[in-house]
Amino acid sequence: MSEEQFGALPREGAVETGGSIVEVLVHGTDVPPALGAPAGGSMARRRVAMLLENKMTVAGLVVIVGLILFSFVGPLIYHTNQTGSFLLRENLPPSGRFPLGTDPEGRDELGRLMLGGQSSLEVGFGVAVVATLFGMMWGAIAGFTGGILDSLMMRIVDALLAIPLLFFIVLLASIIRPNLVLIFLVIAAGSWMEMARLVRGEVLALRERDYVAASRVFGARSHRIILRHLIPNVMGVVVVAGTFIVADSILAFAALAFLGLGVPPPATSWGDLLTIGVDNVFNGFWWQLWPAAVALVLVEIAVNIVGDGVRDVVEQRLIRR
């Protein structure tokens, strides 16, 4: 994003290419000219710089990137057979050949941890993206339209929020048989409501602002005001809330695995590994529980710390405003 984009007119001109969601996401983090553009560097870049000043946040980001690399790049370097079962080497303790031992089917536990990380991280980040986009649209439309539609849409949000997430997804998962895509959609279906409520609140405050009125005077349509003015301005809070959706949906996915509604074997997730590990730790097979537990807790803590860091940056902006 270059500096001159902060001038009001060039930016308006650039808008004519259409307000796709991708474009909003890419340009989303900058603040409209009415709020005053800072000198030197885009707002987004400044915020990233502020974020990286916080050592805890950097540590959190390093852990997240590390675990992503471990899960997705790891199997390319460390080859294991994760589909067969090997009865002669089940439940072996860690050794030179199996750094983290083997599972009850004789599969390599380290490779299993990588495989489980893939589905857990995919669900966490995937749900966050889907639930964020849907909740953001829902909230923006409700807040912007107002009136009866707003009340109705928000009562639906209230109702869905009142249903405890696990009860809801256990029931949905038992009506439709679980596979990774469906589990993913089911968790997303239960995770978008708080985002919608948050975005609606922001939009209610934003739509009274002068630049929105100005834009309307210029003849802008509703969908354009939502996409170009409201959504870019709520991106800060959205990113914060989205981060916490990542953490919550990884936990929900693990809870589903514990209830027997996880991914069907030989696929696995950290939650499935934990469930097996909890059973087998009573047999003394500690290596089947603790590595997965550490991985899950690490990613949860890291995501929460990054979320807190992003919130600090976003709120600093709010205070300055």
């Binding site: 109702a159 249903i163 405890p164 696990l166 038992s174 009506i175 514990f258 899950l296």
Partner: protein, 317 residues
């Protein structure tokens, strides 16, 4: 105040209405239809048809909804063929135990989290604040079943003090208290982390407010400022969190009851899920949700009583 209460009541009724539509919709989203789901795959077509006629499943959906809602309102939530009991009777037996579990863990959690958060807020960014934050984050980051399993490993296997299963709940008081300790502890640890985090940031926010500076300027003692301004205002925002936390606590109860075999509504739900006992599943879902709505209604009323802005001026909610 009365207008506020009426408005909140109306809101709650409307939310329950929407929930009932969602639950009813799920009931009819069952593959192959409700009668087939209850009779199983081996049922003859004629039997399925008979049950459909008997249960009124051939009527138009809106008519069925009205009939179902009318029955639900009077406490008739259907009949569990798997457990051979009316769903209502099952709920009356199981719900109070879950309320005991959820209620006691939330109360203990508040009792610990509020002072803890206050302490952390006052010691912001010191070493002990960071230590507490990180250890709370560890509890917050763990799935409930892992936390519970660790509690079993430490307190039941290594130190055989507390029982890890609760099948015989309701026999005598002393045994029941012992049985409750591990499940309550597990739910408690998760909630403490949730509440204390919020209390801490709320205290920090309040400490920066102008009225705190004014109070100091008036010559009020530190203790007076902390109690009258910081503590009471922060407590108020934690109050709102109780209502919001209820759905999560019930979700946690589903896991904890399954793990400890505690015969509450969560275990009832889990077992019904395994046996595909749909009347029980939907009855529990409806009742849990109504409980959550009532709980947040109570939390809101408590908030309104404590907050003079609502009590005196009937501000718009």
């Amino acid at each position: 105040m009365i207008a506020y209460i009426l408005r909140r009541l109306l809101h709650a009724v409307f939310v329950v209405f929407i929930v009932s539509i969602v639950v009813f919709g799920l009931l009819h989203a069952l593959p192959g239809g409700l009668a087939r789901a209850q009779l199983g795959l081996g049922a003859k077509r004629l039997q399925v048809h008979e049950l459909e006629v008997q249960e009124g499943l051939l009527k138009p959906l809106p008519v069925q909804y009205v009939i179902w809602a009318w029955h639900a309102l009077r406490g008739h939530l259907g009949f569990s063929y798997k457990l051979n009991s009316p769903v209502g009777a099952l709920l009356v037996r199981y719900l109070p135990r879950t309320l005991l579990l959820v209620g006691s863990s939330t109360l203990f959690a508040l009792g610990v989290a509020v002072p803890l958060g206050l302490y952390q807020g006052l010691r912001r960014n010191r070493v002990d604040d960071h230590l507490i934050s990180v250890s709370m984050l560890v509890f917050y980051a763990m799935p409930d079943f892992l936390l519970g399993s660790i509690a079993i490993i430490l307190l039941n296997l290594d130190l055989p003090v507390f029982p890890s299963t609760a099948t015989a709940f309701g026999l005598n008081l002393r045994a029941d208290v012992l049985v409750l300790i591990l499940p309550v502890l597990t739910l408690f640890l998760g909630s403490v982390a949730y509440f204390s985090r919020y209390m801490r940031s709320s205290v920090i926010d309040n400490l920066l407010e102008d009225y705190v500076r004014t109070a100091y300027a008036k010559g009020q003692t530190t203790r007076g400022v902390l109690y009258r301004h910081v503590f009471r205002n922060s407590l108020l925002s934690v109050m709102t969190l109780i209502g919001l936390s209820l759905p999560y606590v019930f979700s946690g109860a589903l896991i904890i009851e399954t793990l400890f075999n505690f015969p509450g509504i969560g275990l009832l739900f889990y077992d019904a899920d395994l046996t595909r006992d749909f009347p029980v599943l939907l009855g529990v879902l409806l009742v849990v949700t109504v409980t959550v709505v009532l709980g947040s209604l109570l939390a809101d009323f408590g908030y309104a009583l404590l907050d003079p802005r609502i009590r005196l001026f009937e501000e718009k909610a």
